[in-house]
């Protein structure tokens, strides 16, 4: 894998003496039950071509009828992104031939989009940066091609699944306000969080319900923007950051050596870690947009738009501020937890049952996220986190009461994760209650001292660390259940201060 090596001194993936200008086009599949213009289901993962009908297959004579729910979700998305929602917009046809597009045109919105002029804020250093959103419009998704080779030109044959054809999408186009690969990733993460918060989409990049194309150019500070390229085929946040770092370095390299950047569309090759030419400017499509005569203009009542606005839930920024203000969480913790709606819901529910926000936050930031990462879970559906918030609260209460120590608590949490059982049950069954009975611990302390004369000697010579070993031995002997404070105290009492 060819990682891009950046010339030294740059800022977050941008070589020193250069600036990058980055804009994103993001496609988000809306969480409707049925497709944009017909009644077919939108469920992911069904057998190929099992969720199709004459309308989404583009059979002769069919007509599209807009899905009211899709319009409402798109309006929610627009309002959550601080956009101006148009009371009059229209549908247009984007014409080009591709086998996964049943009509060989896509119903989209061209010159009068549903919404425009919005923004979102991304964290930068201690503060935040506003990224403007140029427009948001509704369109239908295409089907999915599977080629019996790398691409449609070299493949001996290709197969098409139309289950995805006609699923409603919003396309969200940012202004070129980002200047590092990291900012692009933060923008995408924030966008995803907002979409999830307002119930617009599950935004699963690996399932394609969140897709992203990038426009990027570089320039010397103060100069006007250079020629831009477009990057496609980005399937993860990591790919967004890596491809941008590569492409910026590539452009800087070209310009530094007196060559030019070609205006073109480039394909991100995840395995090779580089971008490659997909099509150059001469082969750019002429989409021949024109108003779709099958669909009347989309006219929205301003009062209804306000109703949708009032129904918006608390969004990530507001929630983060509340966690800092009302719960006293550090801004960083609050930011991490609120970046995922599911994680934030999990946190709040745990806090409701165990009202020590900082303790809960430590666990969510630590154990919960560690397990999610280890299991590759993007926790956006209820049930994705196998531990129930009530159970975590119960466990924390047990730690608080001294029923179990931290070490055992982690062990119990691991068990809760795999079995989903309540902690009290696990602790009882395995006899994990903390032992604070001094007589019992004393016995183990005596044994540890007797069995390890060399370590004791080390300690007496002044090796403070030797005490830790003896604590470990005692814990082992009590199967981790001994109260560590009591163990420490008893050991010190027996051995006296180190170095004596």
């Amino acid at each position: 894998m060819a990682e891009v090596r950046l010339p030294g001194g740059g800022r977050g993936g941008v070589p020193a003496g250069w600036e990058a200008v980055i804009g994103l086009e993001v496609h988000v599949e809306l969480s409707t039950a049925s497709k944009m213009f017909c009644h077919c289901s939108t469920r992911f993962g069904a057998p190929p071509n099992s969720q199709v009908c004459p309308v989404c297959l583009g059979l002769p004579g069919v007509l599209p009828v807009p899905n009211r729910q899709a319009v409402e979700l798109a309006v929610r998305a627009a309002l959550a992104l601080n956009c101006r929602v148009a009371t009059y917009s229209k549908f247009d046809r984007k014409n080009y031939f591709y086998p996964d597009m049943p009509k060989n045109y896509q119903i989209s919105q061209y010159d009068l989009p549903l919404a425009s002029d919005g923004y979102l804020e991304i964290p930068v250093g201690e503060g935040s940066k506003r990224i403007r959103i140029r427009r948001l419009h509704l369109e239908e998704d295409t089907g999915k091609s599977m080629h019996a080779a790398d691409d449609i030109v070299t493949a001996r044959y290709s197969l098409v699944d139309f289950n995805r054809a006609g699923i409603p999408l919003v396309e969200i186009v940012s202004e070129p306000d980002m200047s590092t690969p990291e900012e692009a990733r933060l923008y995408l993460e924030k966008l995803k969080a907002i979409m999830q918060y307002c119930g617009v989409s599950d935004c699963r990049m690996e399932q394609g319900s969140l897709r992203c194309d990038i426009n990027v150019s570089v320039r010397r500070p103060g100069e006007k923007a250079g020629t831009r390229t477009e990057i496609k085929n980005l399937n993860s946040f990591r790919a967004v950051e890596r491809s941008l770092a590569y492409e910026i370095a590539r452009q800087v390299d070209l310009l530094s050596s007196g060559r030019e950047v070609e205006q073109e569309t480039r394909h991100w090759d995840e395995a090779a870690g580089c971008t490659r030419t997909l099509r150059t400017k001469e082969y750019a499509h002429d989409y021949r947009y024109f108003p779709d005569p099958d669909l009347p203009p989309l006219v929205l009542d301003p009062a209804w738009i306000e109703e949708v606005r009032r129904s918006l839930p608390e969004l990530p920024d507001a929630r983060r501020e509340r966690y800092v203000r009302e719960m006293g969480l550090p801004p960083y913790d609050a930011g991490v937890i609120t970046a995922s709606r599911a994680l934030a819901e999990f946190f709040e529910e745990t806090v409701r049952a165990f009202p020590q926000p900082k303790t809960v936050s430590n666990w969510v930031m630590g154990e919960v996220r560690r397990y999610l990462n280890e299991h590759g879970i993007d926790p956006e559906e209820p049930g994705d986190i196998p531990v129930r918030p009530g159970h975590l609260a119960e466990l924390l209460a047990m730690v608080d009461r001294g029923t179990v120590n931290m070490r055992v608590a982690r062990q119990v949490f691991a068990e809760m994760w795999t079995s989903g059982r309540p902690p009290a049950e696990i602790v009882r069954e395995k006899g994990l209650e903390q032992v604070s009975d001094e007589a019992l611990i004393e016995k183990a302390v005596e044994e540890a001292i007797a069995a390890n004369p060399a370590v004791v000697a080390d300690y007496r010579k002044g090796k403070e660390k030797a005490l830790g070993f003896l604590v470990g031995e005692v814990m082992k002997a009590t199967r981790g259940r001994a109260n560590p404070q009591v163990v420490n105290r008893l050991l010190r009492e027996r051995l006296g201060p180190p170095g004596q």
Binding site: P54, L57, G58, L59, P60, G61, V62, L63, P64, V65, P66, R93, N95, F97, P99, P102, K103, N104, Y105, I152, V153, S158, V160, D286, R288, Y289, F290, P293, D294, L295, P296
Partner: protein, 502 residues
């Protein structure tokens, strides 16, 4: 006529099966020459008619009322005994989808295509008890004015088989004119119902845009297409309209306007009705014989007590040019789906691009290819504003002309076609002269208003059609005037040839 037939069937004086058989016999005798049908579904039709007869007989034996139901054929659901078209045979233009029955648009590219669903109009007619006999010939994808653009064979005019029947609903108009079926459906994008009705001497209506559902009509130019009936009489037209008109949730452009009982206005006095005659429709290019027949018709309306005045639709001269930008532009997009990937003809040739181009070159006829190219050009970057956008602006002016005229007149009268039916082959080499055949009908589609063509006389022994145009959703007024004229001229000598079904 149809209403009488339905009554006779309901009373048991006429068997639906016999009527279907009679039509099939007539088709067997005449259609070899006329070429009206692309697909016949005689067996299903006979079966469905027989079941209607049986059910009616059963109800009569049981002393039953009209509340019972008769089971229908393969494509029909259950039919109520008081259904408006019980047992009436009909024919459907081959660009209207019929479940399980081949629908080709008279094109090689859809030669073997069998739709898995029926158009809304087909469902409505079947629910009303009509019995589908088959699918009628047409100009390929409804592009043409003579029926000669069928990829399979041309249709001939029953009044003179050396002449064209008009188009694009050529088979539907000729089938009604020859008495092969009591009624047929056509589609009208620039005159495709009215002009063949005029050439064949039958009644043909283009309803208001949105009055009849387009769901299941294979799109040519979506902002202009409307399905309409072809019938022998005005009353039959009103009856079929009552069945097919009305809102359809599957068509977002269909209107939520209630459908009147069209037959109730027939016979109402037209005295005092204000009729405008746009001078632009009677100028250059109108045959003398046509002009004379129209003049006589205007006289008949005056005799009925109507006020007939000359008026003006000043943007008429641009309508043809506007149409030949807007319609091909929409067609270029609508016809993009015929690519060999999912259905219809596929001509494999190396890679995907080769398959596209070979399939489309072999699958589409020359007129269709011409219009796809015209439309693609009109929508292309750098030309869009000058062609498509400009055309849409002028279209608005054409529409305003009509709004202005209808602020002063109830209806407008004009010839349906500048000429009578021309000879086969006469215009095939010159597309522009073919396009001129629709010069009188195109403005109506651009404006989205309703219009009818009814027989009003003869020239050179061939029928002349009178076009009556009305404001949006004024089908009832149009039918009222048409019916009054039909009655007033019932005994005119030129009527002998009209509706010559035996």
């Amino acid at each position: 006529m149809i209403a009488g037939t339905v009554d006779a069937i309901r009373r048991g004086e006429l068997r639906a099966r016999d009527l279907v058989e009679e039509c099939l016999n007539r088709i067997a005798a005449l259609d070899g020459v006329l070429g009206c049908f692309l697909t016949l579904d005689g067996e299903s039709a006979l079966e469905r008619a027989a079941r209607i007869d049986e059910e009616l007989a059963r109800q009569r034996r049981a002393g039953g009322s009209a509340a019972g139901v008769a089971p229908a054929g393969a494509r029909g659901g259950e039919v109520s005994a008081d259904a408006a078209l019980l047992g009436v045979p009909w024919a459907c233009k081959d660009n209207i989808c019929t479940r399980g029955l081949r629908t080709t648009c008279a094109s090689r590219i859809l030669e073997g295509y069998v739709p898995p669903y029926s158009a809304t109009v087909v469902e409505r007619l079947e629910a009303a008890g009509a019995v589908l006999l088959g699918k009628t010939n047409m100009d390929e994808f409804a592009m043409g004015s003579s029926g000669e653009n069928s990829a399979f064979f041309p249709t001939r005019n029953p009044r003179d088989t050396t002449r064209v029947p008009g188009g694009s609903s050529s088979g539907s108009a000729a089938a009604v004119a020859a008495g092969l079926v009591p009624f047929a459906l056509g589609s009208d994008t620039g005159g495709s119902v009215r002009q063949p009705a005029s050439f064949c001497g039958v009644v043909g209506m283009k309803p208001t845009y949105g009055r009849v559902s387009r769901y299941g009509l294979v799109a040519f130019a979506s902002s202009l297409d409307q399905i309409g009936p072809l019938t022998a009489t005005v009353e039959d037209c009103a009856l079929v309209m009552e069945v097919i008109a009305g809102h359809d949730p599957r068509d977002a452009t269909s209107a939520q306007v209630p459908v009147p009982r069209y037959r109730e206005v027939l016979g109402r006095d037209v005295k005092g009705m204000k009729l405008g005659v746009p001078r632009e429709y009677l100028g250059e290019g109108i045959e003398r014989g046509v002009r004379e027949a129209i003049d006589a018709a205007l006289g008949a309306f005056e005799d009925l007590g109507c006020v007939v005045e000359e008026c003006s639709l000043p943007h008429t001269e641009y309508a043809l040019a506007v149409y030949y930008l807007v319609a091909p532009a929409e067609a270029s997009s609508n016809l993009a789906r015929y690519d060999g990937v999912r259905y219809g003809l596929r001509v494999g040739a190396g890679d995907i691009t080769g398959m596209y181009s070979h399939t489309r070159r072999q699958g589409f006829g020359p007129e269709v290819r011409r219009r796809i190219m015209l439309g693609t050009y009109a929508l292309s970057a750098g030309y869009y504003d000058a062609y498509y956008l400009k055309a849409q602006k002028v279209r608005t002016l054409v529409k305003r002309d009509f709004e202005e005229a209808f602020s002063r007149y109830d209806l407008l009268l004009a010839p349906t076609s500048p000429t009578v039916a021309f000879r086969l082959g006469e215009r095939t080499a010159d597309p522009l002269s073919m396009y001129m055949a629709d010069v009188c009908t195109i403005p109506v589609n651009l404006a989205g208003i309703p219009a009818i063509s009814i027989p009003c006389g003869e020239s050179e022994g061939l029928p002349v059609g009178l076009q009556i145009m009305g404001p949006p959703f004024a089908e009832a007024t149009i039918l009222q005037a048409a019916y009054a004229f039909e009655r007033a001229t019932a005994t005119a000598p030129w009527r002998r040839g009209v509706g010559s079904n035996g």
